[in-house]
Subunit: 448 residues, 2 copies
């Protein structure tokens, strides 16, 4: 047998706890603020939207949180996910670097998103909730939550950005197949949706509007909660199964990564692969951690660290994060999951503390790397994941230029089966890059 | 830990040889015939289309054929595929049956097709061939061959049935992303294509026409061979990795199947799961083997066992098989991969010998079973695979009616990520069943 290129875990090696870095932080996170009072948010403030067990996880002081058995039962349907060494890609790049990737596309929804969707559905079911409402852009998150709700016997209502609803029907159909109700947003089902429609009958919608609709739906129905697929601490927590597995698998491979890479939108995929390594860094060792974001929406590299709203409509709490401003509308890059004006407060904090580096990549270079990856490693990556691939390729080429080895680990967050139209546009020369035009970043004024 | 529901193999447990049942048959297969002379086909007859190593496998007397190391290197990218016990589905059906499924959708192309595409690309590369030509309907086979050619440095030309080319763009884009050239068929690139276009400028194409174009392309270019994704003995051979792995995994589970089920079009998926069990049956024990075909195209249950052409245009050798007639045009069911007038000669022979049962299922019942499966087991099945699910559900319900346990193993041949439109039609009540109207089956007259 040749040297192995694939590293698998048994069911008994799937992590049995989520890793919480909150208690290990050298400086605590700044608290989220009530948008009316500007006072630190209390758990009670969040109860109309989330079940208490998730709210507790949001502020949890324990370093490990056991994964409930019912969640483990679902995780085992596709976890542990495989870790690969990209030997064919290494050869094509003629690099002394070793490139490893953790592949989250084997979940039934095709990305890492079910890792938190399943946990959120479980805790909501336990709290007696009958239905979850959420928003989705291109549909990765919506389909993950539709699946999770189906498995736990919850109803699921998804507000899908109108233009995606029309242009990306396959993700919508996937949600239907798993039993979810999907409405184009703005819809006539909510006050906020009707308001937008009255002003702009042909509105294409936006993630901001869809969030407003889902939050309103949850807040106005006692049996319904809201569910978010990124940004929040409990989402980052649930995603740490990725990095924990990757660490075990890198041990199998007998190597330690020099750099760990993930794509970065709100932060859930990057947090998933990187947070278990953050603990190593906080203990004085550990690899470089590199967040790969799009140049079109560079919240970490061009944003401002400040209190801002999580949505365009200013309905959410104020959170301290790197932001391009809640009114920033990112251009229409194909990595829809990375089109977010803000960033996880926890990961923002770790960027400020110097534990996480960030670099922005233009979409043409990302698609070039994704096609190169697909042609050597066989898997067709999601456009979001292509940012991590691009960063990994650049690290590998830097190693070649230096003539020194380097161990690179990146997370391949999902497959691109529903994004082939963007590959076709790229291969046909029809894609363009978008540079971020520096602008005045407006955030709410804070009292001193 | 609860009782396991997933059975994995290590890389060292992936089969290192393909299983060949030809030498174990109690009666030999009737030979394919040269369509001009009606004499048994010689290897030389096939050399314009296939490399000698594949031709030898077509007639091979050895019970085991080693899998080349370069093919193993590619298999290991996704093999061994997982075997699951469908505990959630069992519970929903309230059945004493145990239902296991072998899932082939984890391959990068999303089905079992790469098992033979990779082997075919390898042997053609070794024979000094520069390019492979093939046909594809909905695109499962074309995308598998595009991937395989890319990995072995071959060019790939795919003639895709015009209506699929227009209506199912995602599979076409997948082939492009893996570097293949894809032409709508009929095309102006071949004599036969131009002939059809001259007579019918707006022809929607058919698998028969596309086969003619691919065969002509290969036959008229010395550096180009033809590649077929089903029917032939060497294709069945390569697919036996599926059943061999499943046997090991059923041992892990500590159970023996009472019945083994696969969907049936040309036979490559069914052969893959069933042929290793055929050897058990030929040795006097072994499970029932059940081929699940569509009522709209019931070659095994309503066809005639006779020599017939493999294509509509009568270009292929004459092969002895269950056939609905080479001029039969199946209705437009969504399981495009099962719309074939004929059947593998080897599997046809085993049906006649009583080792394989066949049953036909209407598409509405198959979609109903597929949606039930997706909502309990999370994976969205391909429409082809839904026939195997439907058969498994009926076996499980029969076990419930009898009040006796039954161990059911079926092959889930692929995911339905590119078939969500058909789910949407089903859920919207827009699908219909097609019954096969008994007809005079015309096959070529044979001299006695």
């Amino acid at each position: 047998m040749p040297e192995p290129s694939k590293f698998l875990l048994t069911d008994s090696q799937i992590p049995s706890a989520w890793v919480n870095v909150l208690p290990s932080l050298p400086e605590p996170l700044d608290p989220p603020l009530n948008p009316q009072t500007r006072a630190p948010l209390t758990p009670q403030d969040l109860l109309p939207l989330f079940p208490m067990e998730l709210i507790e996880q949001e502020f949890c002081p324990k370093p490990l949180i056991d994964i409930p058995g019912e969640v483990m039962d679902v995780y085992r349907l596709w976890r542990a996910t495989p870790l690969y060494r990209a030997r064919r890609l290494e050869k094509a790049l003629d690099t002394p670097a070793h490139i490893y990737y953790k592949y989250e596309g084997t979940s039934p929804a095709g990305s890492h998103k079910p890792n938190t969707a399943v946990a959120q559905a479980y805790y909501n079911k336990r709290a007696g909730i009958r239905r979850l409402a959420t928003e989705t852009g291109a549909g990765q998150w919506g389909s993950a939550l539709a699946l999770a709700c189906q498995l736990f016997g919850l109803e699921c209502t998804v507000y899908m950005v109108r233009i995606s609803y029309d242009q990306k029907p396959y993700r919508r159909m996937m949600m239907h197949s798993w039993g979810a109700e999907v409405y184009p947003s703005p819809s006539d089902r909510t006050h906020s949706g009707r308001g937008v429609l009255a002003a702009t009958p042909d509105s294409l919608g936006s993630l901001g509007i869809a969030i407003s609709e889902a939050v309103e739906d949850a807040a106005t129905h006692a049996d319904t909660n809201y569910s978010l697929g990124s940004v929040l601490n409990h989402v980052m927590l649930h995603q740490t199964v990725i990095g924990q597995e990757a660490k075990l698998q890198m041990q199998q491979a007998g190597e330690e990564p020099d750099v760990v890479i993930g794509c970065f939108g709100g932060g859930s995929n990057f947090g998933g692969i990187a947070l278990p390594y953050v603990l190593d860094r906080l203990a004085g060792h550990g690899p470089r951690l590199l967040a790969a974001e799009p140049t079109a929406c560079p919240s970490l590299t061009k944003g401002k660290l400040a209190y801002d709203y999580g949505d365009t409509a200013k309905l959410t709490p104020l959170i301290k994060m790197y932001t391009l401003g809640h009114d920033f509308v990112p251009p229409g890059i194909h990595a829809g999951g990375l089109r977010y004006h803000g960033a996880s407060p926890l990961l923002s904090h770790l960027v400020r503390l110097g534990h996480i580096e960030a670099q922005a990549f233009p979409q043409l270079r990302c698609f070039q790397a994704a096609v190169q990856f697909a042609r050597h490693e066989a898997i067709l990556p999601a456009p979001e994941s292509s940012h991590a691939i691009c960063a990994a390729v650049e690290e590998a080429l830097a190693a070649r230029a230096e003539g020194r080895p380097r161990v690179i680990l990146f997370c391949l967050s999902g497959h691109g089966h529903f994004d082939l139209g963007s590959y076709e546009s790229y291969l046909g020369g029809k894609l363009q890059d978008y540079e971020y035009a520096p602008r005045e970043i407006e955030v709410p004024a804070m009292a001193d």
